[in-house]
């Protein structure tokens, strides 16, 4: 009960955490008038002043646009609303951000599948980027209904599920038990006693085990579609480790640790591999190799500290601990937090791609 309570009680923490760190994107909202049309033009052309004007639009309380007629107009409104929602999250106006994305979804569903898919994915990234894996999961699932074998959507949905079984330490909002049940058992409603079963560690464990195995299969499916997906390989390695399949986990993690394609994934893989080392000295070396890539990786400083302590180097251990403690003062969003935001880090790029394809709504 305490564990479940801890998860529930810590909901929305990541919203604050990410907000404090400057967020993942910027911009505004709109009204169906000339100012809106001018704004869209400037916005899609990437004009610097447009972003700050959009921010002002959000702050001044303009109502977002939920009605549209022509395709171009609808797409522009949908993209601007998404951008505006991100701005609201950064301002910690979470409910309004949620409402804005929710109000835009019906509008998007009436557009062409290609646009709708990209928008749903971007919206999922946005929610995950602020720690809401539950809403992210919902949007990815809607995207997968349009493109069932899309590797990006499969990866994103698996990351959302991952945090329902692997504790993130930040209190992100996990996928609801009802949705997890549906994925696990192919639909239907969970039994009424599910909440009681999940409140009991003895009955919860097998359920979580099933879920972990499901997530493993999903990452494997992503790799079949896209063998070069470093992130899927990293996350597969972590899930295998959680399943107790250390040998297989090590193979996957070592492959990622040696790659240079995605520095965040490489750093996290090295961090995880440090735990496999049998001696404190080897673990310290592994932690240092992770920190070489990303010195904001707080668990690596902590692990390095503990390894040094186990080796008898207390002053070194204290110095590494102080490094970790100093990270809290930088205000930067650490690699460890970004990892636990699932595919949230993909939001800025996805938004840029949506913006680039907008046509003038006249």
């Amino acid at each position: 009960v305490a564990r479940r309570r801890a998860r529930e009680a810590t909901a929305r923490v990541l919203v604050l955490l990410v907000s404090l760190a400057g967020g993942v994107a910027t911009a505004g909202g709109l009204e169906p008038d000339d100012r809106y049309l001018r704004l869209v033009d400037r916005y899609r052309s990437g004009e610097a002043g447009a972003a700050s004007e959009l921010a002002e639009v959000v702050r001044s309380g303009w109502l977002p646009r939920a009605q549209c007629r022509a395709r171009a107009e609808c797409e522009a409104a949908a993209v601007l609303n998404l951008h505006a929602a991100s701005r609201l999250y950064e301002a910690r106006v979470v409910d309004r951000g949620d409402d804005l994305v929710g109000a835009t979804r019906p509008m998007v569903s009436r557009q062409a599948a290609a646009f709708a898919f990209d928008w749903l994915l971007a919206a999922g990234f946005l929610h995950q980027g602020f720690g809401d894996h539950g809403r992210g999961f919902d949007l990815y699932t809607a995207g997968l209904a349009l493109r069932p074998r899309n590797a990006s959507a499969l990866l994103a949905r698996a990351t959302a599920l991952e945090f329902s079984v692997l504790p993130d330490g930040f209190g992100g909002i996990v996928v609801s038990d009802r949705d997890v049940w549906r994925v696990l058992y192919g639909g239907g409603e969970p039994p009424s006693e599910l909440s009681y079963q999940l409140a009991n560690p003895r009955t919860e464990a097998p359920y979580r085990g099933h879920l972990l195995e499901l997530v493993r299969r999903q990452y494997r499916a992503v790799l079949e579609l896209d063998p070069a997906s470093t992130e899927a390989r990293l996350r597969l390695g972590r899930v295998l480790d959680a399943l107790g399949r250390r040998g297989e986990a090590e193979v996957e993690l070592r492959a990622v640790a040696a790659s240079r394609e995605d520095p965040l994934c490489t750093a996290i893989a090295r961090l995880c591999l440090a735990r496999f080392e049998s001696s404190p000295d080897a673990a310290a070396t592994a932690y240092r190799s992770a920190l070489e890539i990303d010195p904001t990786l707080s668990p690596a400083w902590l692990g390095l500290s503990q390894s040094l302590h186990a080796s008898g180097d207390r002053s070194g251990a204290l110095a590494a601990l102080e490094q970790m403690l100093s990270l809290g003062n930088t205000g930067a969003l650490s690699a460890w937090v970004r990892y636990h935001l699932g595919r949230g880090r993909a939001f800025p790029e996805a938004l840029d791609a949506l913006r680039a394809r907008l046509t003038p709504p006249r």
């Binding site: 810590t10 504790p167 902590l302 008898g312």
Partner: protein, 286 residues
């Protein structure tokens, strides 16, 4: 370099290393043990070294009482600031922390450690008391519970050069998301000098209970939030009433686990002390 209980850190500084001497060099390294003696639930005072019998891995040791009341304490107060600590609970926790700080003597020092989704230092030792109180007022609940990571940090932030090391951990929940493994932190505790006391609200804090056991510490169950201040002060007062015994280990190999047994020579009373200490293997001889 702080003692781990006394001997490890000093031994680590020793160079060059040699594998031959199987026992400690007398006069080089000390082991410190904080001992609580009670009878009928009350602290027994006025004991001297002759009243204690201490064995290290079964070998009788010559001890001295180096301190009891009046010796400076180096305290780390580690507070769980997870999301569940809000409103009245937060106010009660702040009151408890204020009481704890007010109960310290001028020679004592305190480190304020807060943990939720991160582990942070709110106030360092030697910080002026008004600033420590101000740091307590700035405490805000929000986040997960990196209890195990915080316990490790608290252990390392103690420094016997400042006083007898004490860690007091408050938590109202279970760990959620720590990187460090509880077993490794327990091993750290066995190699450190600090006594860990804990104060909890809603029971079954297995890790904290084991941590306290490993260091000779105890737990207080406040049951209600408004009782927190009393529990915090009791934890501090109990520690201050302990005897600090010291001995230079003889007749035992330096490395590995040292089982300590402390009992009273002739008097009646209940003795609480750490069950032993760990000197990591592979560190060479003195």
């Amino acid at each position: 370099v702080p003692a781990i209980p006394g001997l490890v850190a000093l031994a680590l500084l020793a160079a060059p290393q040699s594998r031959k001497p199987p026992t400690f060099a007398v006069g080089v390294e000390n082991v410190n043990v904080d001992v609580l003696v009670t009878r009928g639930g009350r602290t027994v005072e006025g004991l001297s070294a002759r009243d204690f019998v201490v064995t290290d891995n079964g070998v009788l040791q010559q001890v001295e009482v180096v301190a009891q009341a009046g010796t400076a304490v180096d305290a780390v107060l580690a507070l769980d600031m997870s999301t569940s600590v809000q409103g009245e609970k937060l106010a009660a926790l702040r009151r408890a922390a204020h009481r704890f700080v007010d109960s310290l003597w001028p020679t004592d020092s305190v480190t304020l450690l807060e943990f939720a989704s991160e582990v942070r230092v709110g106030a360092r030792p030697r910080t002026a008391l008004p600033d420590v109180h101000a740091a307590i007022e700035r405490l805000e609940g929000g986040g997960a519970t990196l209890l195990v990571d915080a316990a490790y940090a608290a252990l390392l932030l103690t420094d016997p050069r400042r006083g007898r090391p004490l860690v007091v951990v408050f938590s109202d929940g279970v760990d959620h998301g720590s990187w460090l493994d509880p077993e490794t932190v327990l091993a750290t505790a066995r190699a450190e000098d600090a006594v860990v006391h804990y104060v909890e609200i809603e029971g079954s804090l297995t890790f904290l209970s084991r941590l306290a056991d490993a260091t000779g510490g105890r737990g207080w169950s406040a049951r209600r939030w408004e009782k927190l201040p009393e529990a915090f002060v009791e934890a501090l007062d109990e520690f201050k009433s302990r005897y600090r015994l010291r001995y230079e280990p003889v007749g035992v190999p330096r490395e590995g686990w040292h089982r300590i047994e402390v009992r009273l020579a002739s008097r009646k009373g209940k003795v609480l002390a750490r069950p032993g200490y760990l000197v990591p293997r592979g560190r060479g001889g003195p």
